[in-house]
């Protein structure tokens, strides 16, 4: 579904991605794990189109999308719920969701997705008129994911959805990611919380200073010695 070849992304002279190649299969949950500064967010932003790679190629359903704008990528079905949520703090929950649907012109589809979001996240259903900046961290994360779902994506990219959440909420968020995947959306997940991510992942990659060092199924990586040492605390 998504094929990435030898991706290089720079910030000025700093190399943040040094030749990353991988693929995402339709229907799977794929995750990237890695420490602070490994380049996970850089990868997500390059895939969403807000960062331009210096070299490399991104193919989506066989088509080269490397040069497409973020907007065209969203229209094709790739969307990112970014690190730190980046919801619109002064908007209500409802207005935030409407912004997620900016590329969708089909009113019926919008209505269906809107209801679907509240089925997934009943906690924010009663809060449609609440200003998003006043939501709790967990609710904001749900809103950020819900907003992304409003674009009716084929691939949902999630950058550290568990960041700053209590253990119970982390578990809840991962259950919901699983649920979204079961409903047919392919998931590309980035996490520092390697344990939780690997448990729900079909496959995973470890990213280290801009390079992929290990790859395998979620199970394999959970039992990989190197991974256990570096990311799972022994």
């Amino acid at each position: 579904m998504l094929q990435v070849n030898d991706l290089h992304t720079y910030y000025g002279n700093i190399k943040a991605l040094r030749g990353v190649s991988f693929h995402v299969e339709k229907g799977e949950i794929l995750s990237f794990i890695g420490a602070n500064g490994a380049g996970k967010s850089t990868l997500m932003n390059t895939l969403s189109g807000t960062l331009k790679p210096k070299a490399g190629q991104i193919l989506f359903e066989g088509e080269d999308i490397t040069k497409l704008s973020p907007r065209d990528r969203v229209k094709k079905g790739i969307i990112l719920a970014p690190e730190g949520r980046q919801i619109f703090p002064k908007f209500t929950v409802e207005e935030n969701l409407l912004m997620g649907a900016y590329t969708v012109n089909d009113k019926e589809l919008n209505k269906r997705n809107y209801e679907k979001v509240f089925e997934l996240f009943p906690q924010i259903k009663d809060r449609q008129k609440q200003i998003a900046g006043t939501l709790s961290g967990g609710e904001q994360q749900m809103l950020a994911i819900g907003r992304a779902l409003m674009s009716d994506p084929k691939i949902l990219m999630l950058d550290e959805p568990s960041l700053g959440l209590s253990p119970i909420l982390v578990e809840q968020i991962f259950d919901l990611i699983n649920e979204i995947n079961n409903q047919g959306t392919t998931i590309l997940l980035v996490e520092q919380n390697a344990m939780a991510a690997l448990e729900i992942s079909d496959r995973a990659y470890a990213l280290e200073t801009g390079e992929i060092t290990i790859e395998g199924t979620g199970k394999e990586l959970l039992h990989n010695d190197l991974i256990r040492k570096s990311y799972l605390g022994g």
Binding site: P70, V74, I79, G84, Q86, F88, P89, L98, T103
Partner: protein, 293 residues
């Protein structure tokens, strides 16, 4: 006397408020002080004058509509030509500011070249008609200006709350990156914000010249500077701040010129501007700038 001063202040405040919204809207999105706004104020008045005297003299309304369309187009084109290339290269806002000063100079030069530097008579509405408002002698054009402004403010409120594009503009001012990520047409929307700001400046420019019944080349910078002072007073980046700032400033000026002297009233705006910058740089409605990560 008191009421008279108030009415004068409110009609002048309407003119400041409309132009001030343009400064504030663009600042809220790009953190850019768009200096070309004042020149659009002038250019629109000149366009109105040129159209009225050469083509459409029979209809003020038609002239007004054509002027608004021209102003919108000018605003959009300014963004595309002078601001967008700088934005997309990721260069500092200082360059965009300088670029907007360049646009201001060019527009003023064009106006001067085509219009000349003398004062000319400007068409107005219901000339010589006055209404007695609880003892305040109010000219018909003042009433028209106040009512038109109220209508536009109402429309802007609806537009930014309930219209998809208007809501998009508010989203841009909260998180530009998130707008890109949601697949919003960010460039088009920024262009629209310039078009909207320019159309408001056009209403303001035409209204002001109708009020004066004359037009001269210096009219843009005079009002532009005061509208900018009003924007800062209200809290730059806050649309309601621009409106409130505009009215406060104009009413204050009106009082000073009524009880003291016209000349002194010109110091008021800039006196208030400097005071605000010292005491409360964020203005009435502005909140402390939060560093965006």
């Amino acid at each position: 006397m008191l009421l008279q001063i108030l009415v004068n202040g409110i009609s002048l405040g309407s003119i400041y408020a409309l132009t001030a919204i343009g400064y504030s809207l663009i600042y809220s999105i790009l953190q850019l002080i768009n200096m070309s706004n004042a020149a659009v104020f002038l250019t629109s008045a000149v366009i109105f004058y040129a159209l009225y005297t050469s083509l459409t003299g029979s209809s003020v309304l038609l002239t007004f509509i054509l002027t608004l369309m021209a102003a919108g187009a000018i605003g959009y084109v300014i963004e595309v030509i002078a601001i967008r290339p700088i934005r997309e290269k990721g260069d500092s806002n200082t360059y965009a500011l300088i670029s907007s000063i360049g646009v201001k100079t060019i527009l003023e030069q064009i106006c001067q070249g085509t219009f000349g530097s003398e004062i000319k008579q400007f068409p107005t509405l219901l000339d010589g008609k006055y209404i007695d408002l609880f003892g305040a002698r109010t000219s018909a054009i003042q009433i028209i200006i106040i009512l038109t402004t109220l209508f536009i403010l109402g429309f802007m409120s609806w537009f930014t709350q309930n219209n998809r594009v208007g809501r998009g503009l508010r989203a841009l001012s909260q998180n530009l990156n998130a707008c890109h990520l949601m697949g919003m047409p960010v460039n088009t929307l920024i262009g629209v914000s310039f078009a909207v700001g320019s159309m408001l400046a056009a209403v303001s420019g035409v209204a002001y010249c109708m009020y004066l019944k004359s037009i001269s080349i210096s009219v843009g910078s005079a009002i532009g500077n005061k509208a900018f002072a009003a924007t800062v007073l209200g809290g730059i980046g806050e649309l309601k701040g621009a409106v409130v700032g505009g009215y406060i400033l104009a009413i204050a000026e009106s009082f000073v010129s009524g009880y003291y002297s016209m000349a002194a009233s010109n110091f008021i705006s800039f006196g208030i501007l400097i005071l605000v910058l010292i005491i409360r740089p964020t203005g009435i409605f502005g909140k402390k700038e939060q560093k965006k990560v």
